[in-house]
Symmetry: C2
Amino acid sequence: MIRRKGLTSVELAKLAGVSSATISRAFSNDPRIKPETRERVLALAAEHGFRPNAMARSLNNSRSRLVALVVNTVANPAEAEGLDLLIHRLQERELMPLLLCCANHEDRGHLMRIASTYQVDHVVLYSDAVSVDDALDIFRSATLIVASSEPLEGRALFDVRLDATAATAQIVDHLVGQGRRHFVYLSGRASSHIDKQRMRWFADALARHGMAFEIVEHGDYSYESGYKEAALLLRRLRPDVLVCANDLMAIGAKDAAALLGLKVADDVAIVGHDGVSLSNWDSHSITTILPPAGIVSDALAQFISLTPASEPQQRVVDCMVRWGRSTGEFPRH
Amino acid sequence: MIRRKGLTSVELAKLAGVSSATISRAFSNDPRIKPETRERVLALAAEHGFRPNAMARSLNNSRSRLVALVVNTVANPAEAEGLDLLIHRLQERELMPLLLCCANHEDRGHLMRIASTYQVDHVVLYSDAVSVDDALDIFRSATLIVASSEPLEGRALFDVRLDATAATAQIVDHLVGQGRRHFVYLSGRASSHIDKQRMRWFADALARHGMAFEIVEHGDYSYESGYKEAALLLRRLRPDVLVCANDLMAIGAKDAAALLGLKVADDVAIVGHDGVSLSNWDSHSITTILPPAGIVSDALAQFISLTPASEPQQRVVDCMVRWGRSTGEFPRH
DNA sequence: CGCAAAAATGTAAGCGTGTACATTGTTGCA
DNA sequence: TGCAACAATGTACACGCTTACATTTTTGCG
């Protein structure tokens, strides 16, 4: 299994009869090189399988083209589907994603500290499980790009933020119009910012009808927790409407309702969040709140092309509703 | 948004009143340093937030602690769930995963070539979409670790390979015992090695009963393709048993059957592959073939701890059956 | 106490590239 | 032809660390 190591720019330079500086210029599209020699060098490089060493490269211009992606877990479709798009955007720009999976990892700080030694250019915070302050503290010289929901309060960052005010109101209006009165919210993690945010949207939308809702705080964003908690609360509280912190829990709740002999939509309407593709499957058909397709990844990728010296920016993305059968008949247009 | 850069080992050395070599030794657990000075250096480093630069580090010992993970897409639970475990194993060993998502990427070679410039120590081929030869060719000096199903034929590699002979036979025996006779296999991608392998297992298991099966080759591993193709073939071929290339397609097929008014298990048994968690949900309950939990990731992680000079190894993992309601009553153990 | 061996640290030369600066080759124009 | 301006390339050092080798300090023991 021993394999030969590639050659270096000096060796290639010797082969090409030029200096290593010329090699470097050929590969960095330096305009000061004669197009003709550039071609010659690149051809020779291809022939010998030479590619400049990214480590050496980034050592002296301190741009690594690495992007740290901080997520909870890749096993959860809600994160994975967004992540997949984002990774594609990065790859289009020849940026390399370094993946940090923080779920089940007691010491996220340690994980981030290791990643930071690779001199990543950017950090995308895609997870609520990591605090912005920690990330800022650890990734000193990288630009931080936030897609979690932690309030930023003036800390200078690139920031993509969701707004589901309208979408939530749309759903609430529809459900209230159907005569439903008893709303319960099954939360994901009590400490999660996005969860608090979502509850606030629901509170606001219900307040316009002079209504409120109950909160059950035992979920953890998994199907299993949705199933288990819904089985308990459906019996105990008998709500009209069960709003879940995410689609996976909503599907779990739907299955639990079926187990209890309740008819989804007729007996209890179920609402999810995130719009993962499987919530749209025939067997689930959950009404859910989601950002327009790909827009978050696009925004993140756009931020990444800015330089660390740029002014902090924020983008607000308006969410929409994807109606499913879990809330009964669809609203007319 | 301008932030200060961290200090270097020479600067820290000055502060500690030692040489930069001592700093280096403190951080690489060199036994030749006095424990007492090591503590002092580490304390000072922590105080000043110093961490050795991984780029510079790997530049001269040519070990980057980076692992390239070549997958199709992270959006598919079948890959994502395995990947998640693997990433955790890597993180335990303080290895950093570089993620390459090859699906929808016309030039996988280019992607891998870029990754190779980062001097990755290992490459895990988790995808059938990339040929082993290409990977070998591009990642010259990294150890290649294969979890795809391409036959290796003596090419020296670390290799994790699935064996579902027994599991497949178990399912086939059960289904034949129920009196089913008409088997159809809905394939994922015609060119996919794992798919061919799975069909072979089924062919062998059926051959023991003197039976054979039909093949429909239009799937692409997605729920949608399972749904669409099953809707067509269930009407056309009216099989007893529909075996799908993976669980997502099996779930699609199940939904299509429901749409056609067919009762799953009674009218048509459905079998999946991979054992993704959602195939075990109440609403799906697909009988599926899967490797024991975590064993593949564990094997991969174990291989990764070997050195490039080690002898090539192979591990064969025996798959098992997870019974669901999609194949009727469970077999008495 | 003295001296050899061992332990601890320092010195300096890379690792493979980018880049400021120096050098050489070329062109234009009087 | 001569000389300025510019285009193309070369030279040499820096990036931040590891490590072979040199040097200093400590230890053990007769």
